[in-house]
Symmetry: C2
Subunit: 222 residues, 2 copies
DNA sequence: GGCCTCAATATTGTTGACAATATAGTCGAC
DNA sequence: GTCGACTATATTGTCAACAATATTGAGGCC
């Protein structure tokens, strides 16, 4: 077996955070991770830096990395900004779209459907996030693409932290709906469907009270 | 002298890119930078990774880092998203504002004014970007804060790439105008002033033709 | 002369050992 | 017994040597 790349390890950790096997606050020791993944500490260091920029972990100097605990305020900000980015992506995509891309996109949704049917949580997470990244990639907008990756990662963390049910109930139907509007060349309808989709995801969260960011024991026990 | 930190070196390089001493496409060799700043290559590597995430450099595997060449499309996307983020920041700031913060903010603008008067390009760049980051910090919204840092960096690069004049003519007046609206507790006016400010900055750019991303010599000489 | 191969060089990527720092536990004074 | 200082341990941070890869230039063949 070849050694794992930074991206592969980052994805594995991302998925573990997203499906709640790594809870917010969990300490991520470099040596431990290095052993688990069979790579050197230097590479783990790169991985942790990557995860930090994606907002999945917080690194404190001389202290190490822990899984981030997003605040409710952050969660709301992220959804707010994400709505703006997704709409911008759709606008760009609208001018870059062709038949080949459309086919590929519908195929992606088909995969989502299969994963949903098999109830494979990891695939569901990977594919439903991947849908949005794919839109950005096909829009051929480099900046939006990178931003979307970050936002999707952060959204995964938020869902892990604030979702009550384990079910990832936002199925592929809403994704397909967006594609159908694009196929019909109706940009406004696509944007509206996207906004609705994001609102649906957000509404599945329990963002009423701020149970997330104790940050310190003092706050947690106040 | 103590050795420079990653942040300090990253800022130095950022400023050099922003005031066009480092042009887009310039190769950044690790050994060279290590010698210039008197630090080990390992630290330079961290710096380059930081700059990459901020969109200032592009790193290709086994090839090294070069100063990024933003495309016109990216530039427009960045301004578009930035407008959304800045407005969100103002909304959050509006609820967190107090007299102390207001004083500090006006003091910042005063520093901008001095830098402008002295025509100190580096200070002008640092302070006028810093104004927007400061707003995000005072809004106490962690996610928006990180995002704003990235957007400010990317905007600096865009201005270096697309601005025709050397003059950083968007003076502190527009910043002050935003603060005055905040002081008057008029959120909508503040947001409008911010949008106007960003449009002003963008309008100083030459985004008509895509002269930016040759990407390869072949394209540049076509 | 044009083109391919191959060696020489320059540059990035990786590793393991070592230093610096923080954490946890222990001992002693009071 | 409680508090504080101190030691031992665990963990992160740094570095310099080495390996892998890409670039450049020279030589030879057609």
């Amino acid at each position: 077996m070849d050694t794992l790349t930074v991206e592969q390890i980052a994805e594995r950790i991302w998925l573990s955070i997203a499906d709640r096997r790594l809870r917010p606050g969990t300490r991520l020791k470099e040596a431990e991770l290095a052993e688990v993944f069979g790579v050197s500490r230097a590479r783990i260091r790169q991985v942790l830096a990557t995860l930090e920029r994606e907002g999945l972990v917080v690194i404190e100097s001389n202290k190490g990395a822990v899984v981030a605990k997003p605040s409710v305020a952050d969660a709301k900000d992220i959804f707010h900004i994400r709505a703006a980015v997704e709409q911008r992506v759709l606008e760009r995509l609208f001018t870059e779209l062709d038949a080949t891309k459309l086919v590929e996109m519908f195929e992606h949704v088909a995969k989502e459907r299969i994963a949903n049917h098999n109830n494979n949580q990891r695939d569901i997470i990977k594919l439903s996030g991947g849908f949005h990244v794919m839109l950005a990639e096909m829009a051929e907008a480099e900046f939006l693409c990178g931003l979307m990756r970050d936002l999707v990662s952060r959204t995964s963390l938020i869902m892990a932290a604030f979702r009550d049910t384990n079910l990832h109930n936002c199925g592929p139907d809403e994704h397909e709906q967006i594609l159908l509007h694009l196929k019909n060349r109706d940009l406004e309808a696509a944007k509206q469907a996207m906004v609705h989709h994001l609102e649906h995801v957000e509404s599945a969260l329990n963002l009423l009270q701020d149970r997330a960011p104790p940050k310190s024991l003092r706050e947690a026990l106040a």
